[in-house]
């Protein structure tokens, strides 16, 4: 019962986010006059000629070469490509961990391509949620405390200190770990650890969830469960970007962007269609099915 209620709360938060969306989209459209963008959709990621060059002088390597891509709100997109294709570089830039050499990157309508370290840190805190291949949980720290971590660095204090625990508990319940709040990472299975990581990624209410090989360290069963959970989140409106080399994982997404030699090689639509309007009833049952 509790799980249902919390999951519901969670869904409401998400749908609440979508209410303000029209305004933002409007300004984005005006500023950039992009005809391809419909007035009803809001772009979460919009890059133009994103280029990253490593090295100096004569020995330079162009890791990303004029990459332009768009990801709408509610989309679930996979980026694939062989090693050296520039997908890590792209992920780092899209994840605001580094900045492009040239080109622009609008994240949720905000140009983040020229921000400094401190501003990027704030963007990561406010807008992004990361899920890593190796979970990256703090060792010897309870699941609850791990999930709270982004709030510690939130300078806007959108969640008051006294609500951190409640909020973290909600998140853990939403990913099906309501009974594991006090467990430390070493007491959890890989799949459970990755769920903690997902709860952590979601707690600060990001506009984009970035998964860097999120199932890479998991067996196929746990991997499937994690993907189901991500699909669920996507079903409730969360925009998700996954970097993977596993075509089976990429199959879960709506769109797969293949990179090759720093450029977008192909873009494949998986035929899942564009994101559906949020349906609370199905979400909860889906979440429960993941749980079981």
């Amino acid at each position: 019962m509790l799980l249902k209620m919390e999951a519901l709360n969670f869904a409401e938060t998400k749908s609440g986010l979508q209410v303000g969306e029209g305004i933002t989209t409007g300004t984005v459209c005006k500023q950039h006059g992009d005809d391809a963008m419909s007035a009803a959709t809001r772009m979460i990621i919009e890059t133009r000629d994103l280029t990253k060059v490593f090295g100096m002088g004569d020995t330079t390597v162009t890791a990303l070469d004029r990459v332009s891509l768009h990801i709408q709100i509610g989309e679930m997109v996979a980026i694939m490509g062989p090693s050296g294709s520039g997908k890590s570089t792209l992920l780092n830039i899209l994840g605001c961990l580094s900045t492009p050499t040239s080109g622009t990157y609008l994240l949720d309508g905000q140009d983040v391509s020229r921000l400094d370290k401190v501003q990027l840190a704030a963007i990561r805190n406010q807008k992004l949620g990361f899920v890593f291949q190796s979970y990256n949980l703090l060792p010897r720290t309870s699941a609850m405390r791990n999930v709270m971590l982004p709030l510690v660095y939130d300078r806007t204090h959108k969640v008051p200190r006294e609500q951190w625990e409640t909020r973290a508990r909600e998140m853990l319940e939403a990913v099906g770990l309501g009974d594991r709040v006090d467990h430390e990472p070493q007491e959890l299975s890989g799949g459970q650890q990755q769920r903690v990581a997902i709860a952590r990624a979601l707690i600060a209410d990001p506009v984009l969830l970035i998964g860097d090989e999120p199932t890479g360290n998991l067996d196929s069963k746990s991997g499937k469960e994690i993907m189901k959970l991500l699909l669920n989140l996507n079903g409730r409106g969360m925009t998700i970007l996954i970097v993977t080399h596993d075509p089976a994982i990429a199959q879960y997404t709506q769109r797969v962007i293949h990179l090759k030699d720093g450029r977008i090689d192909t873009e494949v639509h998986n035929g899942h269609g564009h994101p559906q309007p949020v349906q609370k009833e199905t979400e909860i049952s889906q979440l429960l099915s993941v749980e079981n």
Binding site: A121, F130, Y153
Partner: protein
Amino acid sequence: MNPNEVLRISWEAIVKNRVRSLLTMLGIIIGVAAVIIMIAISSGTEATIRDQITSLGSNLVFITANFTRNGPQRSSQLTSGGLVYSDATAIQQQIPNVAGVSVEQGATETVQAGPVSLSSVAILGSLPDYLSVRGMSIASGRYFTLEENTNHAKVAVLGSSLAQSLFGTSDPIDQSVQVGSLRMTVIGVLAKKGLVGDMDYDARLYMPLQVVLHYFIPSRFARFLGQSVRTIYVQVADPSKMDDTIQQINLLLLQRHKVSASSPDFTITTQQDIITTQGSTTAAFRNLLAWVAGVSLIVGGIGIMNIMLVSVTERTREIGLRQSVGATPSDIRSQFLAEALLLSLVGGVIGILIGVGGAYIFSAFGGMRTVIVPSSILLAFCSAAAVGAFFGFYPANQAAQLDPIDALRHE
């Protein structure tokens, strides 16, 4: 990130690595404890010396004879013989602000009482003022009078342990003792004084100065030179006029000895001079110890820096993760700086406890007097904090400058 969170995170990091944290703190703990114990011991020694000096009477001026002769041609002159007994009387009679004058002259004799015979007993000839000047008191009987001194009365006063050795439990008053060839009557026993410096005040036999000068130090030149004495003790009545009194004594003696002020044949020192001299010795000692403790603190600080650098390397992925969820370089820096600071402060507190406890143990079981100086605790604590901040800064900065991408990939 608010300071509470910074402190909490750092505290948790320390507690999670309890053993390592403790080992890291060890240098600081030892340094701080050493500072406190060393200062406590040297202050204790200083206090002991001061007490010993002042226990021999207060507001004292010591006049000692210089044993430098101004050449053989003057050796027979009356004035070059240093201090004489009459100098003491002159000081007592002519200088105002003098509470008492004591002249001491020692000798060594065999002392016998009934069947008990003690050889090489220290004998001290003095004046009646001796008791008040040297801060001694009588336990039973009385001290001798000025008349007895002038009349060479054969009376003796025993130190407490000497009385015990000679007479056991029986009352020595009015008993007779044989001192060398002289039969004397015991008129008093002094209260226990104990060992001051290396002088056992309780094992001595006290008698009028004149008796000592007359019977135990027969001087061939006494007729010409007067009765020479080594030291005259003057107790000043009003310590605020100490300097004036010293000047007056100086002038009087220069006049009496007919010597120039540039080459006097005596030296005047005050108790304060002696305390200062002794104090400067212990201060030098204390400074040396403080440097040793300081070096230990620096070594402790390097230990902290070392472990913090290891910790930064070990926790590179954690740093990367924190950065990925929004920690800024300054967040990371404050976290590691706070950790170093906490490590050294906790180490400092443990060190203070050990230092205070150690100082107590030293005084309780080591027979060493220790005085815990509050400022030394403050000093130790502040230096621990300074060490933490200083040696924590470099590792913290290293951590803050990590690139989030590299940090996240770190294996």
